[in-house]
């Protein structure tokens, strides 16, 4: 009988610890690292309002539901929060209040059309593919991706070229998801602005690790760092 009790209790303990850790990672992930990109006030609706409500609730300023509707309750909670934190008491979530709430405020001016998303995606690919290469080698890798976009034998957008199945090992093994360093971002930007140290190449490969014999039938143009670049 004792044995059974022990067994059951251990089992439930394990089960619940796994279950709760699973639930925890799920909910915190949803509210982590969020940014808002507009000023919020009475009458605003949306996920960004939920972020504000969630934080106010966690810190005890707000007692209502996290429903994404900026009503009287949220308004009063924001004012209480502002008074407590020495902010201007206006019941509006602008850049300063957002910062105090730990939310990243992006102004509307920097939104809309930019090339920053593409620069960052390209930088991630460069970081995954050419970490440890000289700067010029990083620019060349980014340039190859951009040359592919312009070429009929390849997809026509940066994302489609990078995520083409089997095209880049950094995509297959997930290294593309690493945070790019400053050099990779700079290299990506240089390539997007036109610098092309690969002279129009469409392929590059590392002779030490390349497994495909086909790649050697390419026209080899230049060797930079560990990579050969060619068409």
């Amino acid at each position: 009988m004792k044995k059974l009790v022990l067994l059951v209790s251990v089992f439930t303990l394990i089960f619940f610890s796994i279950y709760t850790s699973y639930i925890n990672t799920n909910t915190t992930a949803a509210y982590k690292d969020y940014s808002i990109n507009r000023v919020l006030y009475w009458g605003s609706r949306g996920d960004d309002v939920k972020q504000v409500q969630y934080r106010l609730l966690k810190w005890g300023y707000y007692t209502g539901r996290v429903d994404g509707i900026y009503g009287a309750g949220t308004y009063r909670a924001v004012r209480r929060f502002q008074r407590k934190n020495g902010l201007k008491i206006d019941g509006v979530v602008g850049p300063e209040t957002a910062a105090a709430l730990g939310l990243n405020f992006k102004s509307a001016a920097s939104r809309g059309v930019t090339r920053d998303d593409n620069v960052y995606l390209l930088a991630r690919a460069v970081h995954g593919e050419a970490r440890g290469e000289p700067y010029i080698g990083k620019v060349a890798v980014a340039a190859v991706i951009l040359n592919r976009v312009e070429h009929p034998s390849f997809p026509n957008t940066i994302a489609s070229v990078i995520y083409q199945p089997g095209a880049f090992t950094a995509v297959s093994d997930g290294q593309i998801n690493l945070t790019p360093d400053k050099d990779s971002i700079r290299a990506a930007r240089d390539a997007i602005n036109g610098w092309d140290p690969s002279y129009g190449s469409l392929y590059y490969w590392n002779p030490a690790t390349a497994t495909s014999r086909w790649i050697w039938s390419r026209k080899v143009i230049v060797k930079i760092g560990k990579h050969w670049f060619g068409k």
């Binding site: 090339r115 034998s153 199945p165 089997g166 610098w195 140290p197 050969w228």
Partner: protein, 456 residues
């Protein structure tokens, strides 16, 4: 006593059950992902098959259709379906080397039809030569379409599972090549190699545009040592401690501009990084230079930086260059200069100059575009006056600035336009009116933010 004896096996048994459950969950999840991926590939395949069929059918209709209106509609449908098919094909789990020609075929078919639409709109109906090209395209499209329906039958019979053609590495792809899917597509690749006319047209994907030769290099061939001296002189001889050439491949003449590439170690190694520079074999021109040193303290204004950039270009012998737009990032400003011939801005002949905001040093230079396109042009005289062109612009477009510009069209062609900069409904635009025909050629939207100006 009795409890102690059962304790260890109890724990082990429990661990075993936990592992079993965990394993099953993992197996189940893996199967779910596999199914999901397989479904995704199936959808891609069916969509692509439909797109290719549409291309084929519409091509045959274009050959029959007589009227301009219907032809333009049909051509735009081919354009759309071919691009979509290409996009889907490129996301299929088949290795690139077995697909590249099929992708090229679809892209060029789309591009070709788009150029025919433009020609039609300019009042030039399909010529008999173009008709032949369309016929060849249709022939190839119907072959591809047939291969795809054979594949479809195989899928229906359950002989093909996309999981077999999963990607990962080349080794796996080679094994997958034995798979039916690849075999079919490879067959099409073979056919297209032997039976595909080179399409002659103006468009970004045409072979003529891809293989255009640089025009602005000049005559003499320089050897490595001369090139080294040119490179040293460009960055300043005092700065150079060591200069090394990057190894060239056997087919270095496949480069869009044949060149020597050097890495220069600066004297002050502790503070600065290597500078990279490229010198063209023909003409000994500097194609590009990059100095990736970090810039910490920004002391200069944009205007100061512009003065540095202008002086630099003048010193290097580039005359008549005019700054057009700028970008600010990482402590540097990038200026885009375009060549100005008599009052006409020539956008194709552009040079980019990067100025560091700490001491005004030139940390980047790119003349590749200029060297590719610059030559002594015989500029046409505008047939329209500025007022006549202005009448072609939308009435309530608030014009701030007018000038003449030569803009690139479809890759290699250039057209002389009046450029109207102004505001419309609170946004900045540039409208181009052809100075010879009065046609409204292009509209660019200008986007300004704190980091610079972007034109799309």
């Amino acid at each position: 006593m009795k409890d102690k004896r059962w304790f260890l096996p109890g724990i082990l048994g429990l661990a075993f059950i936990v592992v079993l459950v965990w394993g099953f969950v993992q197996y189940d999840t893996k199967n779910d992902y596999k199914k999901m991926l397989n479904n995704e590939y199936q959808r891609l395949f069916y969509d692509m098959k439909d797109n290719v069929e549409n291309v084929q059918v519409n091509l045959s209709k274009v050959l029959l259709a007589e009227s301009k209106d219907l032809n333009i509609l049909l051509l735009s449908q081919i354009w759309q379906h071919a691009l979509t098919a290409q996009e889907k094909l490129s996301q299929m789990p088949v290795s690139h080397k077995d697909l590249s020609k099929t992708e090229k075929f679809l892209n060029q078919a789309a591009d070709y039809c788009y150029s025919l639409i433009q020609a039609y709109l300019d009042g030039k109906p399909i010529t008999s030569k173009q008709r032949h090209a369309l016929f060849a395209l249709q022939d190839n499209a119907s072959y591809l379409s047939k291969e795809l329906s054979d594949l479809h039958n195989k899928i229906m019979k359950g002989n093909l599972n996309f999981n077999l053609v999963r990607r990962r590495e080349d080794r796996e792809l080679d094994r997958a090549n034995e798979n039916i899917m690849n075999a079919r597509l490879t067959k099409f690749e073979e056919k297209i190699t032997n039976n595909y006319p080179e399409l002659i047209y103006d468009g970004p994907f045409s072979d003529q545009v891809l293989n255009v030769k640089p025009r602005g290099l000049g005559g003499n061939i320089v050897d490595v040592n001369e090139a080294k001296e040119i490179a040293k002189k460009f960055v300043g001889i005092k700065k150079v401690r060591k200069i090394t050439k990057f190894e060239e491949g056997k087919k270095s003449n496949a480069a869009n501009i044949e060149a020597y590439t050097f890495s220069i170690s600066p004297e002050n190694m502790s503070k600065e990084r290597a500078i990279y520079i490229s010198v063209s074999k023909k003409g000994g021109k500097i194609i590009w230079m990059m100095n990736p040193r970090p810039v910490d303290r920004k002391k200069l204004s944009i205007n100061d930086a512009l003065e540095y950039a202008k002086r630099f270009l003048e010193k290097k012998g580039y005359k008549g260059m005019e700054p057009n737009y700028l970008l600010k990032f990482d402590g540097v400003v990038l200026f885009n200069f375009a060549y100005k011939d008599d009052n006409v801005t020539i956008y194709a002949d552009n040079i980019k100059v990067k100025v560091a905001l700490d001491n005004g040093e030139i940390v980047g230079f790119d003349a590749a575009a200029y060297l590719k396109s610059h030559y002594d042009r015989d500029l046409p005289k505008p047939k329209l006056t500025e007022e006549e062109a202005r009448d072609r612009v939308k009435l309530d477009f608030d014009i701030e600035n007018v000038r003449l510009a030569l803009i690139p069209k479809n890759g290699i062609k250039e057209i002389l336009c009046y450029e109207f900069k102004g505001k419309y409904k609170g946004s900045n635009f540039i409208v181009y009116i052809n100075a010879e025909t009065g046609k409204e050629e292009k509209i660019l939207k200008v986007i300004k933010d704190e980091n610079g100006i972007l034109m799309i």
